[in-house]
Structure formats: C-alpha cells, structure tokens
Amino acid sequence: MKKILGWFKAHRPTKRRLIQVYAALLFNANLKGYITGDIYKGPLKNACTPGLNCYSCPGASGACPLGALQNALSSSGKTAPYYVFGIIMLYGLMFGRWICGFLCPFGLIQELFHKIPTPKLQKGRITRILSCFKYVILVFFVIILPLAYACRNFPLPGFCKYICPAGTLEGAMGLLSNSVNESYLRMLGPLFTWKFLLMVSILVACVFIFRFFCRFLCPLGALYGLFNRISLVGVKLDRAGCTDCGLCVGTCKMDIKRVGDAECINCGECIGVCPTKAISWKGSKLFLAPNAIDGESEGADTHRENVQKAKKRHTAVKVTVGVLMAALLGAALIYYNFIDGREDEPILLPPETTEATEATTSADDPETQPDQPEKPPVGTAVGNTCPAIVLDLIGSDARFSVEENAVAGKVTVLNFWFTTCGPCLHELPYFYQVAGDYAEQVSVVAVHIEQRNVDVADFIQNDSGHPEWGDGTMLIGWDTSSYCLKLFNIQACPVTVVINADGVITDYFVGGLMQDELVAAVEKALGDE
C-alpha cells in the first residue's frame, strides 16, 4: 500500500500537466459534440484557439490558427489575411512557444504517448538539424501551396490536407467514431489511408521521441518560435548569472541551443536544475514562488521579509488565477453544452422518418387517388420522398422548387457547396457537364450554403475560373436561411442529393464525386422513374 501511495505521489500531475489538461478541455468544451457527432457551429468559432486543435473536431470550441491561416492565404486574392496574421502575432507576442508547452492539446497527446515506459531516443546533433524541417513544412505546405492555388482560385490547405495528424485524430477519427456520421465512410480513400498511416507513424514515434511532431514537423511551433524571444510569458536566462554548466540544455528534451531560443517550449523544467538560479519565469516578480527568493546577498531579516511578501503575493495571484480559470472553464462548458441554442431550432425531419406526413397523406389516401402507387414517406433518407424545398436562385429573380421540377418529370440534383471548399470546387465542373448533357431530363442546382455576405455571382464570374457556371445551364441556388443545411443535417461539404422524377431521393453523397459516379447516380435516378 505504501508503495502504491508512493507511486501515485511520485507520479502526481505537475502544474504544467494540469494546465495542459485544462487547456485541452477548454479548447474542446463542446463535449456534447462527441455524443451528437456534430461540430460546434456557433459564432465563437471565429476566434482562433492558440494551440493546434482541429476545428472539425466534434469538441472544438474555436478555430485552429493554422487552418485559418491557410484558408486566409487561399482567399488572399480577395481578402487580405489581416485577421489571422494579427491573431497569430498577438498569441506569439503574449505567449510564444509557451503555447506549445502549456496550451497545445496535441502537445499533451504527444507527451502522454511519451510517458509509455520504453527506451527513448536522446536528442543530439541530428535531431537538432532535423528540427529545421518544420520550417520547410511551414514555408511549403502552409504558405506556398495555399498561395499557389489561390492564384488558381482553388482553396488548398496543404498542411491540413496532407500532413496534420491533429486533423486526422481529432477531426476525421472524432467524426468517424460516431455512428451518426456513417455516411462519411463512403469517401474514405487514398487520402485517408495516407493520413491514417502518417498519424499512426507520428504517434508511435512520439512514444520513443519526445514531442516528435512538435520538434520536427509542426509549422505552428515554427511560427510561434519566431516570437519566443519577445514573448511576454516564458523562461528567461540571466546571462550574468549563467556559468555555462550545461545542465539546462542537458535536461531539456527539446532541441534547444540556449534557454529561450526558438526551439524552447518554455516548459520551465530547466528552472529547477539551474544551480545559480539564472533561469526564471518572465514576470517572475509577480509569480515567483517564495522558496525561489534569493537571499544570499542580503541579510537574514530582509530575506525573511522578502519571503513573507512573496508568499502573500504568490497566494493572492494563485487564488485569483485559479478562480478565473475555473470560472472560464465553467462558463465555457455551460455555454457550449447547454446555452448554445442550436438544438432549439426545429429539426424539420429526422433522416429516418418512416411516418407519412401531411404531404403524403393525401397521396396515400386510396379513396381520393385509388390508382396511384403508394408514395414513400417524406424524409431525407434515401428512398424517402423529398420534402418540399424552394430555393432562391442567384442571378435571377426566379425560384427553384424541387416539387415542381418533379411534377415536370425531371430529375433534380442538389449539390451543396461553398466558395472556400476545395473539393466542392473540384467537382462542380462535373455537375456543369451533367447539367449540359442531361438538360432535358435533369435539373442540376449548385446550392451555396454560406450565410455570410459572399457575392457568389461575382465569385463565379471572376474568381472561380469557370465563368460559364453562371450561364444558366447549371442553376446556382442559395440556401438563404440554412433550411437545407438543417433539413439534410449537412455538416461536411460537398453533399449531393439526387431526387428522381417521382420526388424520391435516390442517392445521398457526402464528399467529392467523380464524374462517372455522378453520371451513374443520375442514370439510376432516371431509371427509377
């Protein structure tokens, strides 16, 4: 028993670990998302969290700064990316790489994996050189790729798409692990396979190498590292007091050359080992623990007085910060899980509706229409009759009705997209092609789902690279009040719904389609008539 207690005492979490867990919980405060399989879509998501935390994670309470940066660079032809630059600069100035050491949820995951008791790879000259690799990733995947494709009006967040293990672990796996998102399984292919392999490799590497991703691959750490010397929070070295004993660099598990350089995550472990107390926290006059007061140069009385003062100050700061942190976390948990009122909005029809509704009641009545075959119930699942949908059309005063289109004997293809969605823009030419090839039998509507003030007509004309999309062959709709978004419970884009001439949904796809898949779906709907 003594041994067990001793083990727990020796392994109790440090303050840093507690802060890491706290930050991970705060940045993933939308806990109900893990149950519903949905992500938080409220207004607070326009704020970036400081660490690497995928905004497609069901629990994410804010946006990922790296994803936001790539997206901003992707649309930099239209909007200068001031906001994200400003936010990253502010975070960098305030915290620097202290964020990596204390606030980054993926950093916590890596450290927990490293806790597994296996032989560890020690740092050395090679790891020091390899740590420069993250700058290559920053420049190529985060800056050059989005900019190169911005010139082609095609959003491509290179790092998120090809590398980010946080996106795979928190976003993709987080969504896939919920049975509600079963439809996402359809789109798994080479990209997911690559990212899964990469994620597993990185996590296994983290067991043997301390913060493998953070040290060698993370472009966010590379960015924050640029601010490390001027950041307001972090460790500092008093050069006058340094005896160059090398204990700090030897103790540090990161590839630092000196305390506080661009590789330093400001974890503070070196503070305890410095024999001359030359390393301290920045702003330590406020946060200094009483036992860290140096009294050797002063008299005993003065020292005692200083310790007393520091003790009082330290307790006051600790209590205030503790209360504020607890209040913030409590407020976040309550807001994201109970107050955010999206559940109050009426869910029009659940996907698996089996009961007939008003629309089908009259059609089902054998007395009124005895010869009509029984219509499937109204719903949004494949095989259901599609509910009434009327869409505003962009560039026209007319409106498009799915019901009327079915009455006219035409198949309807609804494609839900938005302007900054890469896969959406990649597949839209196929829809345009199908709209032209099947003009007599099929109406294709590309429904823009964003509610912000985007000039879609202008985007198509000038920025899409396909001004022909606006020629009327393919209708461009707008889901004005997010009606379709809620109706079809659309969380990921692109989404394609194919409705046959009887008004019955014959296919529902989440994710990008290839031309042959789309043609097959249309042929199926035409054959179902």
Binding site: I129, R152, A172, F192
Partner: protein
C-alpha cells in the same frame, strides 16, 4: 530485488513493449491499407470492424503490456538518472578567451587559434553556398506557381520530389558543418587552454558595457502589439473574421483527410 535485476527487468520490458508498439502500429497501417485496397465498398462500420478485428489480439496484448508496466513501476521503480550536461562550446570558448591575454601569448599558438577561427568562417561560407546551390532548383520549382495544376495531388507529389531530396541534402551539409565546427571548436579550446597554461590566466578584462537590450525588446514588443491589433481590426472590418468562421463551421472533408 537487487538493483541490477530490477534494471534488467525494466530494460527487457522496455524493449518488449517497444516491439509490441511498433508491431501494433505496423499492423494498424497494414489493416488500413488492406481495407482501402480490398475492402468491400462502400465501407460500413461492420466491414471495418471485421478488418480490424484480425489484429485485435495484438492490440490487446499491447494494452496488457502497458498495464504490466504500471505494476512493474510499483515493484521496481525507475531510478532518476543523472542529468545530462550539454555545454555550449562557443560560450565555453568565449569564457576561456576572455581570460587569455593575447599580448603575452606565443605567436604560433595565436596563429593556430586564428586559423581555427578562419577555418570555421570558411566552412560556414562553403556550407551556405552548397545549401543555396542545392536548394535553389527546388525553391525555383516551388515558387513557379505554373507547376501547380488542378491535378493537385500529382502537383504536390512532384514538388515534394524536388523539395525533400534538396532538404535532406541541405540537412546533411548542415550536419557535416556542425561536426566540423565542433571539431574545430574543440581544437581551438585546446589551443586556448594550452596558451592559458603557458601564460597564465589574466583577470577577465571588463568588456565595454553593451547597450541594454531590454529597451530594444520592449520597443519590438510595442511595435508588434500595435501591428497585431491593427491587423485584427482590419481583419474584422474586411471580413477576414467571417472567413475564419465560415471555414470553421463548415467541415471541408478533404481538409481533415477524409477524402
């Protein structure tokens, strides 16, 4: 249990656990590739579970091994190793040199010291030029946006085929530079130590007081803060914040690697 036995048990356990983890990782990857290559389409939770169930035994064994680790830590707790010491050779050299009075020093010894300094400068120039020569084609390729067609996967792979070898070669050059520099530093430290032994250490002469860097740092901080706040305000006004929201609330399936 003796310390030696405990250490041996811990070492064997660590190696076994490492192997188990690596094997589990590889099996997970193989299963994923198998599902992708030969799994029944469209994928269903059942088909994926069935594919992964084949490696369930290994996963459970690894989990068991992890649990054993906790018991092992109770029975034979790990000892705290001695902290490593990694000295910054340049700082060591600067300290030693500050105690060396070059006027009293032997001319040959001084020449050797200067030679090492010159050698390091030469090495750095050579390494920089080599890195530039190696990286230039890759950089030129990456900065020519015409190479990035809408077949983006192929374009990215092509760019990586330029960038990765160039990066690895540059890293190799840097690594060689580090080794050569350290060897040179070691030699120079040796020369300085010998010179100190010959002429004796003088009291470190007071270097002229450097201008305080704290004012400069605070100046930079204020400038960065002003620019950052201005950027945020501009970003809110030009719709950048709305862009972030738009991207954050609409899942882009490709961006999270779903496909």
């Amino acid at each position: 249990m003796s310390k030696k036995t405990a250490n041996r048990i811990r070492r064997i356990y660590g190696v076994a656990l490492s192997l188990a983890l690596i094997v589990t990782g590889i099996l997970l990857m193989i299963s994923c590739v198998n599902i992708y290559k030969s799994g029944p389409r469209p994928f269903t939770p059942e088909s994926i579970s069935a594919a992964f169930s084949k490696i369930a035994v290994f996963v459970w064994v690894t989990c068991g091994a992890l649990a054993v680790g906790i018991i092992l830590a109770l029975v034979c707790p790990a000892e705290q190793g001695k902290p490593r010491v990694i000295k910054h050779k340049k700082i060591t050299l600067t300290r030693l040199q500050s105690r060396l009075d070059t006027r009293l020093c032997d001319a040959d010894r001084l020449a050797l010291i200067r030679k090492e300094e010159k050698l390091r400068i030469f090495l750095r120039i050579v390494a920089t030029l080599s890195c530039v020569a190696v990286a230039a084609p890759a950089v030129v390729y990456a900065l020519n946006f015409d190479h990035f067609s809408l077949d983006y996967d192929a374009s990215v792979i092509a760019a990586c085929l330029w960038l990765i070898p160039a990066t690895l070669i540059c890293m190799g050059i840097c690594l060689a530079l580090v080794y050569l520099e350290e060897a040179s530093l070691d030699r120079q430290i040796g020369h300085v130590k010998s010179a100190l032994a010959e002429v004796g250490a003088s009291t470190p002469h007071d270097e002229p007081a450097k201008p305080s860097r704290s004012k400069l740092i605070w100046g930079i901080r204020v400038a960065v803060a002003v620019v950052a706040v201005a950027f945020v305000v501009l970003g809110v006004r030009n719709g950048g914040m709305a862009d972030v929201l738009s991207k954050a609330i609409n899942i882009c399936t490709e961006c999270i690697g779903l496909g």
